[in-house]
Structure formats: structure tokens, C-alpha cells
């Protein structure tokens, strides 16, 4: 039986800090298959980037403890020795980061940087690798790439740098691409270009993509399925249409309602979610969203809900998801502060 591309099962990532152990990711489970784009959304500090870094095992192993499993083509990445991980990183699984300026090395030309991973993983000569680098730059839509490979990161614009990162990440034709806020630092017109490049290449290479973002607009544009995270847990997972049409978790609903809509009623006040995200060293007992939730009952404050799977495949971590469905057309389901 063939394995799915990536299965994350009950992943826990703990950091030991001066103040004690902090669980940044607490029991995250999701799958990504070939040719699929999974969106991981949530606000700052929800653990979406730590999840990605755990999959790549980029975190400092001395102060980080992992739990659960990350099965990549059936192999558990968490139990692999670092030497085996080196063959996977940048080769089978690649990552694009938010800030292309700090992620590129300022003292090497962009050609050198793209060729490096080709030389390491594909055992090509430097000359052949440079040729491939030019090819990759062309694929990502950089004009006159044979000239560009001799330039340094500071000589090119932000959108170009992000394309260089994509070229670098895709140079070994990975099966899985993790994009951590790839367009957050870019302007909208450039963002549109970059999202298009990622989408085209995904189709062409039949890659699985994990798109980490806080922008629900980006999710609607490129993702097939979405996992919403809050305080280290996935609180809702669904295919993208279901998530936007009938979100079942009060937090997802709140998020969707608090964004000003480009086609909404301008005179209407925006919805707000009361309060702020609690700190990770002070996670509420019971449901983590309960203190900010207008549906919360005694039970929510005491007992932590599990991720329930509904008949349509949607998964929700809420005691009251049935009740929330009933109130579907009531826009004020989330109280304004």
C-alpha cells in the first residue's frame, strides 16, 4: 500500500526555557498528499511556523523535545539521525521563508546559492549546476537569468529575491514544499505573481504544498484544504470551500468575520473577538479558546474538547459545534466587545 506524502500525527514540540517547558505545538495532526495545498492559518504565536520547522527539524535539538510522529512517505522523520535528515532537507522537502533578504546569503551570488544545493544533492558538477540554476530562475519568471545569476541578493528587488528562494527550493524537485508566509513581506501585485508561480509549479511537479499564512485571502486563492490553529492546536480542518461556507469553530467564524470585506457593507461595524491570545506558558484549562468565546459553557472551561470528525470530513475541536451549525445564519454569533 502506498503511503500518503506526509502524515503528521499528534505532533508535540516542547521548548525548555528559563521559565520552564513551553509546549508550542500540542498534538497537531494533519495529512498532505501529492498535488495538494494545505493552508495552515492562525494568528501570531499559534504555532504554525514551529510546526513547519518541526517537520524540517530546523529547531535547536538541544532545547527542543518532540513527541508524536511525522511520517514522510511512511518514514518517521523524528526518529531519523541528522545525517539522514540532510538528504531529505532541501532535496525531498524544501522550505521558503518569509523574509527573502535575511534568508539569502549576502556574500554569494544568487547563482552560487542555487547551485549549492544542486551540487550537494544531485552530485552534478558546478558547471552543470549553474546551468540548472539558470533554468530554475527562468521557470520562476526572472527575466534574463543568465545575467542575474552573477548578481548579489542586494542588487535585486524583494519580489525577485522571493523568486530566487523558490528557484532554490525547487531546484531538486522536492515532493513537499513548505512555504512559511512566502508573500507577507511583498506588495499585493508582486504577491499575485508569486502565488501564481507556486501554483503553476505545484501542478507541474505534482508536489504537496504546506502554505503557512495569517492571510485568509491567500488561503482562499491557493489552498485546497485548510487547518486553522490556535495556541498550538489545530481547532478546525476542512476543505477550503467548507471552511469559508460553514466554519464550525467559533474562532474560525470570528476570524472570518473580523476581516473587512472588499465587498462587504462599509457602514457595518467590524466584528471583534474579545480579549487577546493568552501566553503559551499560561494556557487556559479546558478549551483553549473558552475565555474569548461567546459560546463557552461550564464544560468548556473544565474539559478540553477533542478534534471531532464530522460526516463531511470537516474536523472541529469544539464541544458546541452542533449548536453553532444551527445558528449558521445569525451573523452575531460572535459577540462584539
Amino acid at each position: 500500500m502506498s503511503h500518503p506524502l506526509l502524515e503528521v500525527k499528534e505532533l508535540k514540540t516542547r521548548f525548555s526555557t528559563e521559565k520552564g517547558t513551553i509546549t508550542a505545538v500540542d498534538g497537531v495532526t494533519f495529512n498532505v498528499d501529492y498535488g495538494e495545498t494545505l493552508g495552515v492559518v492562525g494568528e501570531s504565536g499559534c504555532g504554525k511556523s514551529v510546526t513547519a520547522e518541526s517537520i524540517m527539524r530546523l529547531l535547536n535539538e538541544k532545547s527542543t523535545k518532540y513527541g508524536g510522529e511525522i511520517l514522510y512517505k511512511g518514514r518517521d522523520l523524528l526518529s531519523l539521525p541528522e545525517s539522514k535528515m540532510l538528504d531529505i532537507r532541501g532535496n525531498e522537502i524544501s522550505m521558503i521563508f518569509q523574509d527573502a533578504m535575511t534568508s539569502l546569503n549576502p556574500v554569494f551570488t544568487i547563482g552560487d546559492q542555487i547551485a549549492e544545493s544542486i551540487v550537494v544533492h544531485q552530485k552534478l558538477s558546478k558547471k552543470e549546476a549553474m546551468k540548472k540554476a539558470v533554468e530554475m530562475l527562468r521557470v520562476t519568471g526572472i527575466p534574463s537569468p543568465e545575467k542575474r545569476i552573477h548578481e548579489y541578493p542586494h542588487e535585486i528587488s524583494g519580489g525577485m529575491r522571493q523568486r530566487v528562494m523558490i528557484a532554490m527550493a525547487l531546484s531538486c524537485q522536492p515532493s513537499l514544499l513548505i512555504a512559511d508566509e512566502p508573500t507577507t513581506a511583498l506588495d499585493v501585485t508582486i504577491q499575485a505573481q508569486i502565488l501564481e508561480v507556486i501554483n503553476e509549479l505545484k501542478e507541474e511537479l505534482n508536489m504537496g504544498v504546506i502554505m503557512i499564512t495569517h492571510d485568509l485571502g491567500v488561503v482562499a486563492e491557493v489552498c485546497t484544504r485548510v487547518a486553522v490553529m490556535y495556541l498550538g492546536q489545530v481547532i478546525e480542518e476542512a476543505d477550503v470551500d467548507t471552511l469559508f461556507d460553514s466554519p464550525r469553530h467559533p474562532y474560525t467564524r470570528g476570524l472570518l468575520q473580523s476581516i473587512p470585506k472588499i465587498n462587504g457593507d462599509r457602514e457595518q461595524k467590524l466584528h471583534t473577538i474579545k480579549g487577546v491570545v493568552p501566553a503559551l506558558d499560561n494556557v487556559p484549562k479546558g478549551c483553549r479558546f473558552a475565555p474569548r468565546c461567546s459560546f463557552a459553557t461550564e464544560k468548556c472551561l473544565e474539559e478540553a474538547p477533542v478534534l471531532d470528525e464530522l460526516p463531511n470530513g470537516q474536523k472541529v475541536r469544539c464541544w458546541h459545534h452542533a449548536r453553532i451549525k444551527e445558528r449558521e445564519d445569525v451573523p452575531d454569533a460572535i459577540e462584539a466587545t
Binding site: 499585493v188 499575485a192 485568509l216 482562499a220 469559508f244 472588499i262 465587498n263 462599509r266 461595524k269 471583534t272
Partner: protein, 332 residues
């Protein structure tokens, strides 16, 4: 609480609070020995009015000059040319010292609430500071007003003696707003005030801004790259590209009928968080040219899908297209 659209319109015409005309800002590029080798043309002949209790949104991509415009009006950077008329007086012609009294009436809220509040001062002091500078009230009156503003912006009064680091980003932005309100201004320049905030916090701050606008009769210049946010809060929007204002229109008009090819591309590039609202994307090619050596003629012609011969040589000027809707483009 909120003024309805038609009330606002009837208020509008006569209540122009601030007029900006042909504002320019060139930054010199100097060699280490002081020889000027060229200029960064950050803002090029920008004109607009701010009206009482109304918001002008300024949108555009990074480097288009929107923040420089905002700062030039308050003379946080000295504009190179043009005029800013407030209460019948051109404030750019005043000496810094004379300008001081106007500064009280024009305040600013910055993007990054982490670096715009002095970390060594308690938030109460931070709010009183502008009143002290402008010699408003006695010490106890200032304290009372600070408490009042804290309450008004949604922060508990007993947090008066806390330091900025004890607050979250959204709360700090509220403190920044309270500080701007302290001297009872009539104009506030808001430079990306919600860009650093998470969506659930962003909506809280936007609602607060709308409430205090009506309460204190404020004119806002709201600078942002986020068009959905600007659409929500602004009555009128100016679109900037490479230092030029290319289109200006009432918000609904701009979204319903964008005229400039750049505005059209910009609007179509916004990802919409609604799967049923998908539309044809106009993807404009290439990057924004350098403002040191902007293209001749229309600055957008290098990326414009409709560029004609005359666009390469003749710079289009802002022209009225319909009531209140102005555009700088040879197509019209």
C-alpha cells in the same frame, strides 16, 4: 454613533480642513563628500483635501511615497515644494517655532507600536507628555485627561502606571492613539496603524478609530497598503504610484469603477477571503522602477498593458472624470 453616508456628504464640501497642493519631496543622493549626484523623487506634485470627520485613504505599494506624503504634511520631513494650507495659512512657510502651535492640531499615529512608545516611561506619562509640551492644563488636569483617554481607548485606568512592554501590540496601538488625542487635534495622520496587528485585534482598533472620529470630529489621512482595510474606513481614496497620485475617488466609486490601469491591477490583485467571489486577475509584469530615475512620460507606462506612444513622452495630469473622481491617464 456612525454618521450615515449621506450625512457625511452634506457635511463635506465647505468643511475642508486641510488643503495640500503640489506637494513635492526630493531626497538628495549625496556622495560621502557631500556632492549631490541625483534625487530620489519620493513625492511628485500631490494634491488633495482633508475634510472634517472624514477619512482620506492613501494606498499604494512600498516606495510609492504614501508615508513620505503623510510625514511631509506634518513637517516631520521638510517637503521640497508645494503648500499645505491649514486654517487659511500655508504652514510650510512658517518657521519651525511658529509651526509648533499647528503641530498640536495635527498628530500622527505610527505603524509599529513597539518602537513608537518610549520604553522608559509609564503610559500615563506618555499620554501627558504632548500636553506638557504644548502647555495644556495643570498637572492634575493633565492626569485626569490621560485617565479619561485611557478609558476612552479601552484601557483600564488602573494601568496608568504600567510600562509599554506590559501591553500587547493592540493595546500599545490604543495608547498611541490616546497620545495623539491628548492635545485635541483636528487632523490625524495614521501611517499603517493596523498593519502590525493580528486580524482579531485589527478589527478592534479600526472600530475604535471610527468611534473617536465622530466623537472628536477628526480628519484622518489613513495610509495603508491593505485595500480592504482602507475600503472599510475611508470615505475617499487616493492611489499612489512612484510618487504620483494616479487616481482619487470616493471609496465606492473607486471600487465600482476603477479607471487607471494601475488601480485596476491593484484591486484585482487583492486576495479575497471568499471562494465565491473569484474574478479575473490582472497580473502586471515586472517591478516598480527606481524613483531615482523614474520613466519619462507616464510613470506607469513601463508596466501598463494599455501603454500608447504618447504615454512614453507626455506626463498625464489629474483630470476630473466624474464628480469627485479624478484620474491621471491618457486613456480618458
Amino acid at each position: 454613533m456612525l454618521l450615515k453616508q449621506h450625512d457625511k456628504e452634506s457635511l463635506q464640501r465647505d468643511n475642508s480642513v486641510l488643503q495640500v497642493r503640489n506637494l513635492k519631496k526630493y531626497f538628495p543622493i549625496a556622495s560621502p563628500f557631500g556632492r549631490v549626484s541625483g534625487h530620489v523623487k519620493a513625492v511628485e506634485s500631490v494634491s488633495f483635501d482633508l475634510f472634517e470627520s472624514r477619512t482620506l485613504g492613501l494606498v499604494g505599494e512600498s516606495g510609492c511615497g504614501k508615508s513620505t506624503t503623510g510625514r511631509s504634511i506634518l513637517r516631520l520631513i521638510e517637503p521640497s515644494d508645494g503648500s499645505v494650507i491649514y486654517k487659511g495659512e500655508d504652514v510650510l512657510k512658517l518657521k519651525q517655532k511658529q509651526f509648533q502651535k499647528y503641530r498640536r492640531e495635527m498628530q500622527m499615529v505610527f505603524q509599529d507600536p513597539h518602537s513608537s512608545l518610549n520604553p522608559k516611561k509609564r503610559i500615563g506619562e506618555l499620554i501627558e507628555e504632548p500636553m506638557e509640551i504644548h502647555k495644556i492644563g495643570t498637572k492634575s488636569e493633565r492626569m485626569e485627561r490621560a485617565m479619561d483617554l485611557l478609558r476612552r481607548t479601552g484601557i483600564r485606568e488602573d494601568q496608568y502606571f504600567r510600562f509599554p512592554h506590559e501591553f500587547s501590540g493592540g493595546q500599545r496601538q490604543r495608547i498611541g492613539i490616546a497620545r495623539a488625542l491628548a492635545v485635541d487635534p483636528s487632523v490625524i495622520v495614521l501611517d499603517e496603524p493596523v498593519s502590525a496587528l493580528d486580524v482579531s485585534i485589527q478589527s478592534q482598533v479600526l472600530n475604535l478609530l471610527e468611534e473617536i472620529q465622530d466623537e472628536f470630529k477628526l480628519s484622518y489621512l489613513f495610509i495603508s497598503h491593505d485595500l480592504s482595510v482602507v475600503r472599510h474606513i475611508a470615505d475617499e481614496i487616493g492611489v499612489m504610484y512612484l510618487g504620483h497620485m494616479v487616481e482619487k475617488a470616493p471609496t465606492d466609486d473607486l471600487f465600482a469603477n476603477p479607471l487607471h490601469p494601475y488601480t485596476q491591477a491593484l484591486l484585482s490583485a487583492i486576495p479575497i477571503p471568499d471562494r465565491k467571489q473569484r474574478r479575473e486577475r490582472i497580473i502586471i509584469k515586472g517591478d516598480v522602477p527606481s524613483p531615482i530615475d523614474p520613466p519619462k512620460g507616464c510613470v506607469f507606462h513601463t508596466r501598463c498593458p494599455f501603454a500608447m506612444e504618447q504615454c512614453k513622452t507626455v506626463t498625464p495630469v489629474m483630470q476630473q472624470h466624474s464628480t469627485g473622481h479624478e484620474v491621471a491617464c491618457h486613456l480618458y
